[in-house]
């Protein structure tokens, strides 16, 4: 396999997807790097070479979910007896690195995306921004076709209503 060509073809889309999920360019780049290293190590597990994009996206998504899980586990804090466990969820919106040199629309969209659940983030990024087919999203996420359809609709509705000022 010519990995340099594969990297050239698919890394921009994956980076865009990861930026939507992570909120910061540097985190997304780290995950992109990990995605390709993992893919190159396990290239024998790719059954159908025609599904390279969804295979790479699946790896990227799983790495993101793993890193988020680790982060949350690390940051669970006991606050008080009546409120034993508080999960501190990362808020990438507070990162100054984020949204640098972006239009108002893009900055606002990123902020809204960062506040959505991973499910809606993924649905919106893959379907609306990356224009992946629902079949590919089904493969990447493991959702059923009707779930893909519903999640994309919900993400669209939520973001459209939040961005009403840009109409």
């Amino acid at each position: 396999m010519n990995w340099e060509n594969i990297y050239r073809e698919y890394s921009p889309g994956i980076l865009q997807y990861l930026c939507g999920l992570c909120g910061t360019q540097s985190d997304a780049q780290d995950l992109l790097q990990e995605t390709f290293i993992k893919a190159m190590r396990s290239e024998s597990s790719l059954r159908e070479p025609g599904k390279m994009r969804s295979w790479l996206m699946t790896i990227a998504r799983n790495l993101f979910l793993d890193s988020r899980r680790k982060w949350v586990n690390k940051n669970i804090t006991t606050v008080a007896d009546d409120n034993p466990i508080l999960e501190v969820i990362p808020d990438p919106g507070h990162n100054p690195e984020k949204f640098a040199v972006q239009s108002d629309f893009k900055a606002k969209l990123h902020k809204i995306l960062a506040e959505l659940s991973e499910t809606l983030q993924t649905a919106f990024t893959l379907a609306v921004i990356q224009k992946l087919s629902y079949a590919e999203i089904e493969e990447i996420t493991g959702w059923s076709m009707s779930m893909v359809k519903t999640n994309v609709f919900r993400a669209r509705r939520k973001i459209a209503s939040e961005l009403s000022e840009f109409r």
Partner: protein
């Protein structure tokens, strides 16, 4: 009958090119008579236009690929070394296995194929001619008699091995193959030799 929300899900899918022509027709028909769904359609369409305008494929820094390459090349080198060691072990194991297999085959062949008793027919043993040998020449008669005795002995030896193998398989404990009674052959030869009147001894 579909609800408006169900139609809106279809509107979203229609914008993504995921509806069949029949579904598109039904959705468009509904849009013509439902102002709320038409508003949602326009909202989604506008959002899509803005996203398409704002999002181009991001540039990926070139050094990122260099990092990936250097990491995987480093891993590849250590994997290659480990791989070579594993490959060497694999081949060494194969060669030793083949050598052991050959050695076992030869040893087993030597012991199993070796007759348990020497052939008793000495070519120089005199065989007394029988009167009913017919028109057969003397030499031919003597030769056939020897061959018959040798073949008989070989047949019996093989039968002993087969019986031994069957016994070992079906019965517990190791049974020694019954040994061939050398005296039996010697007696037979003696008997042949002693019938001076030319009778063939039947046994």
């Amino acid at each position: 009958m579909k609800t408006c929300e169900e139609y809106q899900i279809d509107i979203s899918a229609m914008l993504d090119g995921e509806l069949t022509p029949a579904e598109i027709a039904a959705t468009v028909q509904h849009l013509a008579k439902c102002s709320e769904c038409e508003r949602v359609f326009e909202e989604f369409q506008l959002l899509q236009e803005k996203v398409d305008k704002e999002y181009s494929r991001p540039a990926v820094p070139q050094e990122l690929w260099k990092n990936i390459q250097s990491k995987t090349i480093h891993e590849q080198q250590s994997t290659d070394l480990t791989g070579r060691v594993i490959e060497f072990r694999k081949w060494a194991f194969r060669i030793i296995s083949v050598a052991a297999g050959i050695a076992i085959t030869f040893t087993a062949g030597y012991f199993l194929g070796k007759p348990s008793a020497p052939l008793l027919i000495d070519p120089s043993t005199p065989i007394i001619l029988a009167s009913q040998k017919g028109s057969m020449s003397d030499e031919r008669f003597q030769q056939l008699t020897r061959e018959l005795l040798i073949a008989d002995q070989k047949y019996q030896q093989k039968m002993y091995f087969i019986l031994h193998a069957l016994n070992s398989e079906y019965m517990e404990g190791d049974l020694d193959p019954p040994s061939i009674d050398n005296n039996d052959y010697t007696d037979r030869l003696r008997l042949i030799n002693s019938t001076g009147d030319g009778e063939i001894v039947k046994y």
